[in-house]
Amino acid sequence: MKKAISAACVLVLAGCSSLSPPQAWEKGNLAKPEMTMGSDTLDERFVQHIYSSKENASGGYGVGGGGCGCN
């Protein structure tokens, strides 16, 4: 009984890491323009630059047009 509970606990703790994120080629829907924040493109580029220069943060702003192929 204890073993069953501990096994269940481990599964809960593993959480969503047991589900794999979408593969690079499965991101077709994510690449659609509806899936971006939708603000003015120049504005978005500005914000992305700020985030990457101040926080070295990238991503989360749309798939497919990145040019680096990493999104």
Binding site: V10, A14, Q23, A24, C68, G69
Partner: protein
Amino acid sequence: MKLYEGTLAIGLCWALAAGSACAVDAGQPVPQIELVGSTGAKKLSDLQGKVVYIDFWASWCGPCRQSFPWMNDMQRKYGANGLQIVGINLDAKRIDADQFLSQLPAQFALAFDAKGESAKKFGVKGMPTSVLIGKDGKVLLTHQGFRDEDRKALEDMLIAAMAAKAN
């Protein structure tokens, strides 16, 4: 009891953690895949002896719009020297790929893999991904993305691969 539970917990967590596909590294033999929908070779192994440049593309991938004219150029320039470019489409819907191709026709071989089986075998991590295969069937390089700066470097690699002797 504590040690057992501990190792069980760690072991299970590790096993459950999302495992990524191993990317194909340079020097490894190329994974054998079928080229479905291709008018030319039906299997990648049929192209042994040629320098093969595989490009995994999709209609929604921005850099692919840049890479297609470049690949057409390369196929035209070096096709006679034994270069075969194969564009493997990974769109889930064929109609998206056809729409892309109506705007940017491909003058190289195409294959269609909606399920992404070949991409899994090659360990594709980003779109687009290109793989250069030498005459001996070994992977020479894997490249992600496509930028203007890449054109010259990639062309140089193609030329070097064609100049290499087949084993």
